[in-house]
Symmetry: C2
Subunit: 278 residues, 2 copies
């Protein structure tokens, strides 16, 4: 049974793990949320790289044979540093997201020529320009939009209770209006933050309100698909396997269990506290 | 000239420094924003204490003879730990905020008997119960309300542009309605986070809309007043002095200068990057 390390600054990476558990159940998962130092999305490249490398090394020390950077910010700003620091294969979320957008563009009604992608992400991710570089290299036009209020709204769970949901819908409307002013013919929307899959129903509602339909691509699901493809040759071909999951966090275990179960969409087994310094 | 250390997890403490520059101009100020590890407001007591002590020690090493914890979360959760770790006097924001609320209660039309305080603060501050303990010990009834979305809204500057301001007003309306349901006769509103002074005009608007007037107490201004009183015996009695300010941050200097000037309400002179580990 392969050991797969999954790393995020916090809880968002659990949306990637949720997809992995479906696609690659025959594995042992070690998840680290660097919650004492989150959020990464508002910090500098140097700080993010330093935090991400110490986190990645911890997972390699726990036996990870493959590492998934389930954090768009860490992928966008530090994947080369992480790859250089570790002796195991490292899969991020930007490249799989790009490939999924490319597949959507090719199969879309308007075709590859007219495809135009909007990427919603944190400030640090958009400032890095990693998605634009990756999407442009794949032949796709792209516009990135920093949406720094979405992570706090998701972490506060302002998604269902009517007054709360109305605020989140209004914030989404503002962000989407702003980016569609820059990219009025965009037809693919790439969710470039692992918190955003939880917003998908509200994003769909907002796009309907704006009368601007777009195909929504989730980089969390795309990354899980890439892991499944990468690891397929090593997997055993029997059924009824159950994945093993080990969770580590650098801050409050209670909060990790409470919030994490929302992102993973199932209760979290035991979470252990780990001190990475700082 | 006395050296005063001022510490916050980020930029909010600059609202305390802004008041200090007015009240105690004859001093040398060393300010540290622990921006690589912010926000403290969503983290555990152990983590906050560890971060706050290493930050406080840094300021003592820079020559601080008096330390102001210009951060409600660090004060509420770690002031005893910080005092135990440092050989210099330490002033937090909770006790001055309480004293200002008490003064307001005594001078208010309804008198001390009917005074009832609502405290708006971060999740970690409200969970600590520090304000309730302090206010109750002063003979005041108190209800605390965690408002975790206010810091991100202030940091994004969603205060003026009409669509942005409307979102912030709606979030304030939701938080205030929720707390006034618990404390319907509250007449004093204590701002228990150093980001919140920037929201004061919007809070006043919201209270008018809700037809629930309250006296607003700002713990940042109250803490500066306490420092002025504490330090008065040591001050020279001449005019035309200009304070000296030195700024340190643990993450992006560019962001610190840009956001910090909004909180300080004047441009920041040189900011230096410091590595406290982590």
């Amino acid at each position: 049974m392969k050991t797969i390390g999954v790393f995020d600054s916090g809880f968002g990476g659990l949306t990637v793990l949720r997809e992995l558990l479906k696609l690659v159940p025959d594995a042992r998962y070690v998840y680290l949320g660097d919650t004492a130092r989150l959020p990464y999305g508002s910090k500098s490249r140097e700080t993010i790289a330093r935090y991400a490398i110490s986190s990645a090394r911890f997972l390699a020390d726990q036996g990870a044979e493959l590492l998934v950077i389930a954090c768009n910010t860490a992928t966008a700003l530090a994947i080369d540093d992480i790859r250089a620091a570790l002796p195991i294969p490292v899969i991020g979320v930007v490249e799989p997201g790009t490939q999924a957008a490319l597949a959507a563009a090719k199969s879309g009604a308007q075709g590859l020529q007219r495809a135009e992608v909007v990427v919603l992400a944190t400030s640090a991710t958009t400032q890095s320009g990693a998605y634009s570089r990756s999407l442009n290299a794949a032949g796709l036009r792209a516009t990135e939009k920093a949406c720094p209020l979405l992570v706090p709204l998701v972490e506060e769970g302002w998604l269902e209770q009517p007054a709360h949901k109305a605020v989140t819908l209004e914030v989404l409307r503002i962000y989407l209006l702003e980016v569609l002013e820059q990219a009025p013919s965009a037809n693919i929307l790439l969710l470039g933050c692992t918190h955003y899959p939880l917003l998908k129903p509200l994003i769909e509602t907002t796009l309907q309100t704006l009368r601007h339909p777009m195909q929504i691509i989730d980089s969390a699901a795309a990354a899980a698909q890439t892991v499944a493809t990468t690891i397929a040759p090593y997997m055993r071909a029997h059924e009824d396997v159950r994945p093993e999951c080990f969770f580590y966090a650098t801050d409050s275990i209670e909060k990790f269990q409470r919030l994490g179960s929302i992102f993973l969409n199932q209760p979290l087994s035991e979470v252990r506290l780990v001190d990475l310094g700082g």
